[in-house]
Amino acid sequence: NKGQCMSAENKKLFEEFVDYCSGLTEDHPEVIPFLKGRLANANQTYLSSVEFRNVLGRCLTRVQSKRSKIYVYINELCTSLKANSQKRKLTLKP
């Protein structure tokens, strides 16, 4: 259950990041859904990892102190999630 509470903590941090950035990316409303899609595609092991929590915490702290680099941090989060996406096994039809 340590993984579950870490996962819940990371989910809360992610929502905090999304809430903060939503108001600042109204000129491109497609960005936040894309970021959420990346989260949905990430593997559970990563989502409940300390590494992901560190990335989230760093991006959240920095975006709150430096809004002018908001897309840098959104991009960083997307990249980390993409790097840990679930590998979909393609089942080839015989």
Binding site: L24, H28, E30, V31, F34, G37, R67, S68, K69, I70, Y71, V72, I74, N75, C78
Partner: protein, 36 residues
């Protein structure tokens, strides 16, 4: 007296690093939409 200029309203297009990240992200989203 005149109000202090609202200097914390930093536009995200001023920062070159942010501009590049924004461009890359929007291109990735566009590519993602075209493959779906």
């Amino acid at each position: 007296g005149a109000d202090a200029p609202d200097d914390d309203d930093d536009d995200d297009d001023d920062d070159p690093e942010n501009r590049i990240a924004k461009k890359m992200l929007l291109e990735e989203i566009k590519a993602n939409l075209s493959t779906e």
